[in-house]
Symmetry: C2
Subunit: 345 residues, 2 copies
DNA sequence: CGCAACTGTCGAACCGGTTCAACTACAGGA
DNA sequence: TCCTGTAGTTGAACCGGTTCGACAGTTGCG
């Protein structure tokens, strides 16, 4: 493998001249520059990443810490990943994917050893053990998800509170007065998944203000449990005319449950979900939904991270907590409440 | 950040002694070893990855090249990823995830710059442009998926030919004489996805031998196209009594289509799919299936790769092409053929 | 008792880049 | 003519590890 020394010899110049010719950091005569570039080309020279990292203290690699809990929905996870890797590459960075169960130890390892220039954290918990480590690390970090304490970090998330309000407002405006809200399973909350109760509490609060009855329940993450749950809920609240779903698995299971019960949407039941357009397309979900934009969130986090990595000035800027505002994409699954459910007693 | 020089000074020894004490590559007195370890602990010493890579020519990072085509099924992809990252970590390696569209260029970049000690390639095409680059690279590589030319590479894949035969055999043994096989969409084949016709051709061949009629068709990868296709097929071949599906999206769509048509499985139609147990659980698919074991394949590829990376002897061993044999997991969705389909004309 | 072998430690070189200080050659201004 | 400034180039140092060869001190054996 050719080194910069080989290139220099081939071009008949010193190593430092070759380096400057390639980087352009000092004026080099046109003639010499040409020779160096030709030599590099001829020898298929590629700088050694380790040597460059050692000399410049920059690896051009970003860390991505993601946890794959078995109760999390794979397709959604995938889009976060892609948003991060694609944007990183656009900006000239590669991505080190770390899925270790002990996220705190993994984070310490990759930051202390200087393998990465910055880190994106996903699956943020309310009281996340990785945060103190990230704050103390020499590299900047960005979060996809809102923790209890955002200090010292850039944070990006969907505005789940506003999402809850938008859902309730929308159905209230259409005339609905009794709704069901299905969240993620309870242990997602126990694990610190704050987005679950952020949406839920805001929806409950808004419902209270508007005089709407809202039955808020935890969901399930898998079939067949989630199908059973849907049936049980529809049985338990026969007079509810609207269904809000903050749970991908439940959303994916709804069409067959509705079909089975002979339930027409939106005729018998208005439905609003919360998921991504990509997810909607894969499963052809016919429901209006709040766009959760995972790829956009991942992309935003990386952009901000790279800004801090590359600009010394940006390092000292105040930290941002940026919510993307929930956009309701209409698929015609909501309407004014009509007849009560067919199976109402 | 503490360097090994700091540790050496703190322990009152030379840099080389500190290095040997930490690595154990030379005998060091108990007394000195203790002092060095204590100093390293006290200073929270972590070796600099770049410096170590430069000195040892080992990065302890594996590259994972994956392409995310929009017509590929996200949950399956995810499991390959996890199989690779988890096994890599168990063996002491981190994973650089590269999803660049131009896989050949990306591969050249990470191998030439010596960012990785080895590479796992996924989404292998029949005539994959990345293979010549991988063969010429100084690092070893492993493939998850079977290309047209396996020379010079370790290859791991499900035995799709045998899978096709197992499916046909199983239903033939039960008495079925007319079957439908739904594959992936045609453009997956055009892109070089050989596994599609490997299963298909073997199934056709076996069907011919057994005197079974097999209608082999390309599928769709998304709703609602795939649902429409299922309906069209069941209309077109009303006398078929068995359905073989080598297409995750079609499998996921089948329950609601069957329900809609009032079609009972296995009473009216026997069904065998090809997917992973994890996928089956997420969607609660009630069908017998050939386990495609993506996590196991990813794991096997990494193990072999690391063997070659770490042992000079292993480098010269002959290359392996290893197929995992298809295991038919019974979920009771097959039975002897009964009455013709209800909607038969 | 002398020599070989072994143990434990150290200094120096090396991996492959980047960058600083210094030097040369030449142009322009006083 | 001399001085200053600038463009172009170079050698040397440095980043932070690993490893080779040398060496001093000790032990074992003939």
């Amino acid at each position: 493998m050719a080194t910069i020394g080989d290139v220099a010899r081939e071009a008949g110049v010193s190593r430092s001249t070759a380096s400057y010719a390639l980087s352009g950091k000092r004026p080099i005569s046109e003639e010499v520059r040409r020779r160096v570039l030709a030599a590099a080309e001829a020898l298929a020279y590629t700088p050694n990443a380790g040597a460059r990292a050692l000399a410049t203290s920059q690896t051009k690699v970003l860390g991505l810490l993601a946890q794959f809990h078995e109760d999390e929905f794979a397709p959604a996870m995938m889009q976060y990943l892609l948003g991060v890797t694609d944007t990183a590459r656009d900006l000239g960075y590669d991505t080190l994917l770390v899925t270790e169960a002990d996220g705190a130890r993994a984070l310490r390892r990759i930051t202390d050893s200087r393998m990465v220039d910055g880190v994106v954290l996903m699956n943020i918990a309310q009281d996340d053990p990785r945060l103190p480590i990230l704050r103390a690390a020499p590299q900047p970090g960005a979060l996809v998800g809102l923790p209890g304490d955002c200090s010292g970090l850039d944070v990006f998330d969907l505005d789940f509170e506003e999402a809850g309000r938008v859902m309730v407002d929308h159905l209230h405006r259409l005339g609905h007065r009794e709704l069901i809200l299905i969240s993620q399973p309870e242990h997602v909350v126990e694990r610190g998944g704050a987005y679950v109760w952020r949406l839920r509490d805001a929806a409950l609060e808004r419902a209270r203000q508007l005089g709407v009855t809202l039955h808020a329940v935890y969901g399930e993450s898998r079939q067949p449990a989630v199908g059973r749950l849907l049936n049980a809920l529809l049985d338990a609240y026969p007079s509810a005319t609207g269904l809000l779903i903050n749970n991908e698995a439940a959303t994916a299971a709804l069409p067959s449950v509705a079909h089975e019960r002979g339930l027409r949407v939106p005729g018998d039941l208005s439905v609003i979900g919360r998921y991504s357009a990509e997810f909607a397309a894969t499963f052809s979900l016919p429901y209006s939904f709040i766009e959760s934009a995972p790829d956009r969130l991942g992309s935003m986090a990386v952009r901000q991270l790279v800004r801090r990595v590359e600009s010394p000035a940006a390092r000292d800027e105040p930290f941002v907590v940026r919510f993307i505002s929930p956009e309701l994409v209409s698929r015609g699954s909501t309407a004014p409440p009509g007849a009560p459910l067919p199976n109402a007693r």
